[in-house]
Symmetry: C2
Subunit: 336 residues, 2 copies
C-alpha cells in the first residue's frame, strides 16, 4: 500500500525516525534504566518495539493502558504513575505485575481495597499536581506497609521542567526537584527512584529509571528544546479539498490534531507548503506561497504540537517509509 | 445505576436539559426546517431523539458519520456538508439518500466517480474555508448537471458569525452572508437553501433549512451568546485524587476535554467548587475557596468549552437525571 492510497485524515509515523529515536534512547538508557511511558503512543505494537529494545518495565497513565498492556503479554512490570481511587479493575488483571502510585492515606486505602500489592510513593517535586510533600513520604510508606503493601520506592515527576527549552535551566531545575525526591527516598526506602521525561532523560542523574514517552515520535513542542537527539516522526496527513487565490483548505482539523500546545504547523517541504491560518473541526485553512499554489487533491502534512493527545484522537497509526505504508497499527490503549 | 458508580473521567448529559434544548429547537424550526448536524454529538442514539422530534434530514461532516447514520436506519436524507475527494464509500452505502457538497469541478468529478447522484453547491459566504464564490456557483451547477448529477440547491455556512456574542452583530453579518448565498441560488436553482448553526438559527431567515448541532447540549462558548434559549447540558465528571493546602487535582485532563476554545471551567455549585489552574493529559489542577476545601474522592464537574471535539474524545455518553444514570449511549460515529 502507498501513502497515496490512505484515506485522510491519517496518522503516519516515519519508520526510520522511529527506529532512530528508539535506538538513541535505548543506547542512553538501556534496559530498566528506561520505563517507557505508553501514554504518549497508546499503541501496544509500538510498546512491543520498546520491549524488543530491552525495556521490560512500562509506565502507564490509565487503568485501560495497564489492562491493555497486560492483555498482550507486556505485563512484566507495569507502573500506573497516577493516583487511582477504585483499583478493582487493576487488582483483577491476571498475569501482570501492577504497581500503583499513592500519595495519601486515601489512595493507599484504595490500592489495598482493590487488591493491589505493590505501590510507589508519589512525591511532589515542584509541579502543582499530585504527589505528597517529601516530608510526608515516609509516613505514607509506613501506612502502606502497615496495610501489608510492598513499597517499591518513590517517584516524582518534574513535569514543569521537561518542556523548558534552555538546557542549562533544565539541568539546575531538575537538580532542585530531585533533591526533594531523594530526601523522600531516604525516608521511604525501596529499590525504585523513578521520574523524568523526554526533556530531562539525559540530565536527570538522580533517578534510577526514566519515564519518557514522547521521545518515540516527538512533536513541535519537544522539538524546540536544546540538545535533544530525537527527531519528529509523526505527521497528520490531509488532502487539499479547496483552493482559491487567497487560501487553501485541507481535510484535517481539530478532531484529528490536539490544539493544547498551539496550532500544528504545516510540514513544509513534505508536500504542499503553507502557513496555517486556523483549524475547524474537520478543516485547516492555510495560506500558501505565490510560487507554489496547491491543487485540489494534493497532500499536506501537519506537524503535531503535542503527540500524546493527537495520537489519542486516532484509531490507527500507519507506519511509513518513503511512499510505502509498511504497517498499520491499532491505537489500542485509548479510553479509560 | 448512580452517577457515583461511574468510573471517571465520564461524559454525562443531563436528560432534562437535552429535552429542553431539543424541544425548543423543534418548536422554532419544525421538521425539515432543521437539518440537525450530527458532528456535534456523533451519537446515533441522540440522532434518534432528533428524528423522533420530526427531523428526518441530517447533516454530517465525515464519511463515517454518513455510513453510521445509514447503518442504523437514519438515512432518509443525509447531507455530507464537506467536500470529499474519494466518494467510493459514500456511493456504496445502501438504503440511504446521500447528498454531497461540491465547490469545484474536481469535487464534482469526485462525486460522480464515486457513484453519488445528488449534490449541493457549497458557496463561500464570508468565512475563509470551503465554498465557491457566488458568481461561480451557476457554472459548477451546470458542470454537475452535465455529468448527470442532480443539483438540489445551495449551502453556505456563516461559521464566522455563529459565535459572535452580540445579537445585533449576528443579525447584520448573517444578512450580508445570505445575500451572497441567495445570489448563488438564483443561478443554481434547486429546492434547498441550507446554512446556519446554533448561533444563527433564529436570525437566519434566508435559508430554508438550518444545520445546527451544538444546541443539543451547548458549551461555554455558545453559552456566552446573547439570546440563545438553550442551556449547557454536558459535563465531564472527574474525581478528586489529590488535595493539599493550596490546590487540588482531579482525574480529567486534556485527553477528556477539548482545549481549542480555552480551558473548560469547573461547574461551581454542582460538586466541588474551584477555579482551573491548568490541564495535563489526564489531570486538572485547580484552586478552591478556603471555605470549601475538597476531599479526595469528591466529584468535580467540568463545563466543556467546545462540545464537538470533547464528545469525540469519549466512547460513551451517560444520560443522567439527578443522581440517576438513565442510559449509556455509544458515541458511535467517531473517526473518519
Amino acid at each position: 500500500m502507498k501513502i497515496h492510497d490512505l484515506q485522510t485524515p491519517a496518522l503516519i509515523a516515519d519508520a526510520d525516525v522511529l527506529e532512530h529515536n528508539l535506538s538513541t534512547m535505548t543506547d542512553a538508557l538501556p534496559g530498566p534504566r528506561l520505563r517507557p511511558h505508553v501514554k504518549a503512543h497508546k499503541t501496544t505494537a509500538l510498546a512491543r518495539l520498546q520491549r524488543e529494545k530491552g525495556h521490560t518495565n512500562f509506565t502507564c497513565a490509565t487503568i485501560r493502558e495497564v489492562e491493555g498492556m497486560a492483555a498482550v503479554g507486556l505485563g512484566d512490570d507495569l507502573l500506573l504513575a497516577n493516583e487511582v481511587l477504585d483499583c478493582t479493575r487493576l487488582g483483577a488483571i491476571p498475569n501482570a505485575r501492577v504497581t500503583v502510585a499513592v500519595d495519601s492515606e486515601v489512595t493507599v486505602d484504595a490500592a489495598h481495597a482493590g487488591g493491589i500489592r505493590e505501590v510507589l510513593i508519589d512525591v511532589n517535586v515542584g509541579m502543582p499536581r499530585c504527589g505528597c510533600p517529601p516530608e510526608q513520604a515516609g509516613h505514607i510508606a509506613d501506612y502502606a506497609r502497615a496495610k501489608g503493601l510492598d513499597v517499591r520506592g518513590v517517584m516524582g515527576y518534574e513535569g514543569h521542567v521537561v518542556g523548558v527549552e534552555a538546557l542549562d535551566a533544565r539541568v539546575t531545575m531538575t537538580e532542585d526537584c530531585m533533591k526533594r525526591l531523594l530526601e523522600a527516598h531516604a525516608d521511604v526506602g525501596g529499590d525504585i527512584v523513578s521520574g523524568g521525561g523526554t526533556g530531562t532523560y539525559a540530565v536527570n542523574r538522580w533517578v534510577n529509571e526514566i519515564q519518557a514517552g514522547s521521545y518515540v515520535l516527538l512533536d513541535t513542542a519537544y522539538g524546540a528544546l536544546d540538545n535533544l537527539p530525537f527527531h519528529e516522526g509523526l505527521r497528520v496527513l490531509a488532502s487539499v479539498i479547496h483552493v482559491n487565490d487567497d487560501w487553501a483548505v485541507a481535510d484535517a482539523g481539530l478532531k484529528a490534531l490536539a490544539m493544547d500546545h498551539g496550532n500544528p504547523p504545516i510540514a513544509n517541504g513534505e508536500g504542499c507548503d503553507g502557513e496555517v491560518w486556523f483549524f475547524s473541526d474537520e478543516h485547516v485553512t492555510f495560506g500558501f506561497p505565490a510560487a507554489s499554489r496547491p491543487q485540489v487533491g494534493d497532500r499536506v502534512r501537519l506537524r503535531p504540537s503535542h503527540i500524546d493527545p493527537t495520537i489519542a484522537k486516532h484509531a490507527q497509526m500507519h507506519v511509513v517509509r518513503g511512499e510505502e505504508v509498511l504497517d498499520t497499527w491499532e491505537v489500542d490503549l485509548r479510553g479509560w
